[in-house]
């Protein structure tokens, strides 16, 4: 193989694509659709994850304070929570506010609070946690640390809620990975098969080239170029169509679906690169396998 043949072989690849344009178009279509399915899945998975994550934001922790807490101690607690990357103080609930809240929470049962002379409720900080799952927040540890601080009477969070939330995330992740993994395998299979089929009809061509004295690489390289071009084209087409689809159902339109307030983002750019990379390697791989089959002349 001489390097200066490469441009010639590349031109051959372009010619081949043109002269087999129907077969190539069919193959390209299949690849684009396969990648599109994968891309759509990625897009939705990324967003679904974010939504459910966001939905879990309401996970909060109550830090009840002693009635006799000093300003310094309070400041210390505030700064401790402030230093936790994933935590945020949502609000401070004074003793009075706590009683008001309890009364409204009890609703018709608020009568039980009538006979009180003294307010027995403690003041508290309501702390919310964001992105908990990503950073593997150790809620138990935080609770312990807070409880050991001066001025803290008790720390509470809903373990049941957390459990449920984690269960849900597990289900979604499981489903996501199962579908995602199968999709990956499936698309790998479909795309390589499609390329095999587009090349299969050209068995004779390969045979003739070999009879004219072409070396294996002289025959193979144009096919690999073809696979590469098909891979790039299908990757780009799939992404463009995906972006267009994303654009159509962008955030604004989601109001109509009763999903107001949910941010709908495009897949991160690393993933777009990944899709192109996948499609190109699939193209090359498919050609490589398919062409390899015909080399026993």
């Amino acid at each position: 193989m001489r390097i200066r043949l490469l441009p010639y072989l590349f031109k051959q690849a372009l010619n081949n694509i043109l002269s087999n344009r129907v077969v190539h178009a069919i193959g390209l279509g299949t690849m684009v659709v396969s990648l599109l399915i994968f891309g759509t899945f990625l897009l939705l998975f990324v967003n679904l994850n974010a939504w459910v994550q966001g939905w879990g934001h309401s996970m909060s922790m109550s830090v009840y304070l002693n009635d006799d807490i000093s300003a310094a101690q309070r400041a210390e607690i505030t700064s401790f929570i402030g230093n936790l990357a994933e935590a945020e103080i949502k609000r401070f609930i004074s003793k009075d506010a706590a009683l008001r809240d309890l009364r409204s929470a009890l609703g018709s049962q608020a009568g039980v609070l009538e006979g009180l002379s003294d307010n027995p409720l403690p003041a508290s900080f309501e702390v919310t946690f964001t992105d908990m799952d990503d950073r593997g927040t150790d809620l138990k540890g935080i609770k312990q640390a807070l409880q050991d601080m001066y001025g803290v009477e008790e720390v509470q969070y809903s373990e049941e809620w957390l459990h449920r939330f984690e269960g849900l995330m597990n289900i979604i992740k499981l489903v996501g990975f199962v579908i995602g993994g199968l999709l990956c395998l499936g698309i790998l299979f479909i795309v390589t098969n499609t390329i095999k089929l587009t090349i299969y009809s050209r068995k004779e061509e390969i045979e003739i080239l070999k009879l004219v004295g072409a070396t294996d690489w002289f025959v193979k390289i144009p096919y690999l170029f073809e696979g590469m071009i098909q891979g790039i084209l299908s990757g780009v087409f799939a992404l463009v169509i995906l972006y267009f689809g994303y654009f159509l159902i962008s955030t604004k339109k989601m109001y109509f679906l009763g999903l107001a307030g949910l941010d709908f983002v495009f897949i991160p750019y690393q993933y777009t690169l990944l899709i192109i990379l996948i499609s190109v390697s699939l193209g090359l791989l498919g050609c490589f396998i398919a062409v390899g089959r015909f080399f026993d002349i």
């Binding site: 200066r4 061509e205 080239l209 004219v212 070396t215 294996d216 002349i297």
Partner: protein
């Protein structure tokens, strides 16, 4: 140049060639003839390495084909021109591209390829059909493209399998003159044919095949 020792070739139970011994010297011009199914095509394909003998040995320029690597075989084929009985043209390439291909695989310079291809196509009388595709040609025209592709690279050995089966007698004469001129330049030529026309008016060495065996020589 070409040496065949005790060559056998079976396809399953049927014997295409049986115990064939033949020597073709450098620069010779040999006809191989025999009835349909005698084994002419099989013989040429064996010499070309397109078929592997069941037993026996083939030496080309002293190199044993059964001991040669795939790459070496490819390189050897570049020095052999083959006119296939069924032409074996690429349907998706033009006449010009089909002929040029034989030079392109060797990595020649484009301008050289262009010139030589034009000239060769003119020699076989197809200068005007350069841009046509094989399926747009008549049978005789296709056969001449196949001939052009075989001779365009000035091969050391020219193997032609029934090269004039689709040509009228005037063209047949032209092509034979072409083959002879190539032969005069030093190419070893082996032609398989059952055309009386070719065989009659020649004093060339001729090998008669029948049922895969040599039954006569001239």
């Amino acid at each position: 140049m070409i040496q065949l020792f005790h060559l056998f070739k079976n396809f399953g139970p049927s014997i295409a060639l049986g115990d064939l011994n033949l020597r073709v010297h450098e620069g010779e011009f040999v006809f191989v003839t025999g009835p349909s199914g005698a084994g002419k095509t099989t013989l040429l394909r064996l010499i070309f390495g397109a078929e592997i003998p069941t037993s026996g040995h083939i030496l080309i320029n002293g190199v044993n084909l059964s001991r040669i690597s795939r790459l070496k075989l490819d390189l050897l084929r570049r020095k052999i021109g083959f006119v296939f009985q069924d032409f074996k043209l690429l349907p998706k390439k033009t006449v010009f591209e089909n002929v040029a291909l034989a030079l392109e695989v060797t990595g020649e310079h484009p301008s050289f390829i262009r010139k030589r291809t034009h000239r060769t196509l003119k020699l076989v009388g197809l200068a005007e059909k350069e841009k046509a595709y094989p399926l747009q040609l008549s049978g005789g025209e296709q056969q001449r493209v196949a001939i052009a592709r075989a001779i365009v690279k000035d091969p050391l050995i020219l193997l032609a399998d029934e090269p004039t089966g689709n040509l009228d007698s005037d063209l047949t004469k032209d092509i034979m003159i072409l083959f002879r001129s190539i032969h005069l330049k030093g190419t070893t030529v082996v032609i398989a044919t059952h055309s009386r026309e070719l065989l009659e008016d020649t004093a060339q060495r001729t090998v008669f095949l029948h049922n895969g065996r040599i039954v006569g020589k001239k």
